[in-house]
């Protein structure tokens, strides 16, 4: 059965890649860049949803892990640039280095975190998120403090033509990274390890009695998740062609958390919705405020802050009213539609009468 899952995931990935290839070639460069940003968010959000949704460990430090990935990519790329290595292979190599560095940092945090639960873990990772950007100032000789580093990026391949927009090339890179992450994580979730993750989340004592090494599972989950965050951060460096501590502040970690919670905790599809939301919502609010013809000072204050407030509001409302997030609502709607279709020929069903969990009601007319 297992290779069926693998085949299905491979097929879905290939299909998605084909569709996205078409989509990127009709979009203008600005949209391509937005898509690339969403894909970079998605790498990190997919990792976070595995850790928080499937393993029950809340991390507020994923923004910091993204910073580790981004700075590693920047340093390695600039190393290549300094030695005039300009081939396209430098980008995957430095991304791999970023993933490795983030995974190693994740292992360190994970070992400390495996002994912690709930608010203690959240607090520790929160301190990580606040402390890691400070490293760039402490080791200012390497990281250049608040100014950050610019990232050397080889030019787009000549085979694509002279006027091929760089944004589209970046979108391809980012989408490749995101699809690869999703493919690997989807298989991981369906594997024995994925079941172990859920077992540890649901009941540690029962998991331990069943012979699952709880601490090791938690550390491994942190490493996998950190590697994804490193890839996302590395993609950020490739997209912006610069890295600075301001881009990896605590807000980034909170945004990632928002993406996975609002999208639907524990579901990769939810991470996709959340990442799109992270890019689209600021864009929509910006369009809205610029269409209202407000004073320049007010527009400047609203920019960046209005999306933040809306994000926070969304987070609170979703957590209280619909903890399943967007994907949970979609699943419910899908089940409801299916139930309706099956029932329609036989009897009329009041749509409000049955819940997702309860079986379809019996015939109401007699």
């Amino acid at each position: 059965m297992r290779h069926w899952t693998l085949l299905r995931h491979l097929g879905a990935t290939a299909l998605a890649a084909a569709v996205l290839l078409g989509v990127t070639s009709v979009l203008d460069p600005f949209r391509d860049y937005q898509l690339a940003t969403a894909a970079a968010y998605l790498c990190a959000a997919a990792g976070l949803t595995v850790l928080t949704g499937l393993n029950g460990q809340l991390s507020l430090g994923h923004g910091a892990l993204m910073a580790v990935g981004a700075y590693t990519v920047a340093l390695v790329q600039n190393g290549f640039g300094a030695h005039d290595v300009g081939t396209q292979w430098t980008v995957p190599v430095s991304l791999a280095a970023g993933v490795g560095a983030a995974a190693a940092s994740g292992a360190v945090i994970g070992v400390a975190a495996a002994r912690l639960r709930g608010p203690y873990l959240a607090g520790l990772t929160l301190v990580v998120a606040v402390a890691v950007p400070a490293l760039t100032t402490v080791f200012g000789g390497v990281f250049h403090g608040d100014q950050g580093l610019s990232v050397y990026l080889p030019p787009t391949p000549a085979a694509l033509g002279e006027d091929f927009p760089i944004e589209r090339w970046q979108a391809w890179l980012a989408l490749c990274a995101a699809l690869l992450t999703l493919l690997l994580l989807a298989n991981l979730i369906r594997s024995r390890f994925g079941r172990t993750l859920r077992a540890v989340r649901d009941d540690e004592v029962a998991a331990r009695l069943a012979g699952i090494p709880v601490a090791r599972t938690q550390v491994l989950a942190f490493v996998v998740s950190a590697a994804c965050a490193g890839l996302g951060g590395g993609m950020f460096a490739v997209l912006a062609q610069s890295v600075s501590p301001g881009a990896f502040a605590l807000t980034l970690s909170l945004n990632l958390l928002l993406a996975v919670v609002v999208g639907g905790l524990g579901s990769l599809a939810g991470a996709v919705w959340g990442s799109l939301l992270l890019v689209l919502l600021p864009y929509l609010t910006d369009t809205l405020t610029s269409s209202l013809a407000l004073s320049p000072a007010l527009t400047q204050r609203l920019a960046g802050n209005l999306p933040l407030a809306v994000f926070g509001l969304l987070l609170v409302i979703v957590m209280i009213a619909a903890p399943g997030g967007i994907q949970g609502l979609l699943n419910r709607a899908g089940r409801w539609a299916r139930g309706r279709r099956h029932n329609r020929p036989v009897r009329r069903v009041d749509p409000s009468a049955h819940d997702a969990e309860s079986p379809p009601p019996v015939a109401t007319h007699t």
């Binding site: 709930g118 909170l254 987070l315």
Partner: protein, 292 residues
């Protein structure tokens, strides 16, 4: 030696503020088993209120009182409107909701006041007075010590000497039994949150003049320091929070003074990791809880 003395006094002054802020975290943790990650932004919101009121009336002290009252109201509103709905849910939900409040707070404050640092002067001189030839303690430090000490005495009297304090402790300790005995448990929780927010607002008013100025994220580092202080003390113990606050204040003052101020966040991280790995229950936890 002079520098060491100066840093010690400075550390104790900072530590007093961290202690107050940690106390606010402990108050809420004892009542509802929630770590209020929104405490920092709530304190900043009240400081902004003080800024506006002081600007309108021209008096620092009306602003000060407005911040404290604002904290009281804000804490009660947050508990009633938002937190009550997740108190019974898994602990993860409460943390996430509190973080949502952080985003809302930073966004709304940024929209109203902008994202630049606003000047937030101290009511007393921060220049150190010379004692026996050594520049030691400033008037502002004395003000901080006095305020925090008064606050702690007031809280101690409230919790140990008044009927309301007894009800609050009962509601936190055994909600069901207290409810049967006629204690308004929900009301006590709201009161606890309101008190905690008041304490947080006070700590914010004391610490913001010593930093860069008023900014929506001005309390982030204070929050993580106070969280570390509360964990050092054991999250459950008010005395532990005070001692933890002073310890964290001293450590950060020495590290910042001798190694440069940019290293203080790393010092907080190192301290928290060491405490969590060596003694996760904190130095002052009374009952040993066994995790099964």
């Amino acid at each position: 030696m002079d520098r060491f003395l100066f840093l010690s006094v400075d550390g104790l002054s900072r530590g007093a503020v961290y202690a107050a802020f940690a106390l606010a975290l402990v108050l809420i943790w004892r009542g509802t088993r929630i770590v209020n990650f929104a405490q920092g932004v709530m304190a900043v919101a009240t400081a902004y209120l003080a800024y506006s009121v002081a600007g309108a009336t021209g008096s620092y002290w009306t602003g000060f009182v407005a911040a404290l009252l604002g904290g009281l109201v804000l804490g009660a509103v947050v508990e009633r409107v938002v937190m009550r709905r997740v108190e019974q849910a898994p602990p993860l939900n409460a943390v996430i909701v509190a973080l949502g409040l952080v985003l809302i707070g930073q966004g709304v404050l940024g929209m109203i006041y902008g994202n630049q640092f606003l000047p937030f002067p101290a009511p007393f001189s921060r220049a150190a007075m010379t004692v026996a030839g050594v520049p030691l303690v400033s008037r502002y430090d004395l003000f901080v010590f006095g305020t925090v000490l008064t606050l702690m005495l007031a809280l101690a009297v409230l919790f140990t000497r008044t009927a309301t304090g007894l009800r609050m402790r009962a509601a936190a300790f055994a909600p069901q039994v207290s409810r049967l005995l006629g204690v308004n448990v929900g009301g006590m929780l709201t009161l606890g949150w309101a008190l905690a927010a008041l304490v947080g607002a006070l700590a914010g008013m004391l610490v913001i003049p010593t930093g860069l100025g008023l900014h929506p994220t001005a309390m982030d580092l204070v929050f993580v320091s106070a969280f570390t202080a509360a964990v050092v003390g054991g999250l459950d113990s008010p005395v532990g929070a005070v001692v933890g606050g002073l310890v964290v204040g001293l450590v950060l003052s020495y590290v910042g003074g001798y190694l440069g101020s940019s290293t203080t966040p790393l010092a907080v991280l190192a301290l928290l990791v060491v405490v969590l790995l060596v003694r996760p229950s904190g130095l002052f936890s009374g009952a040993q809880t066994r995790r099964v």
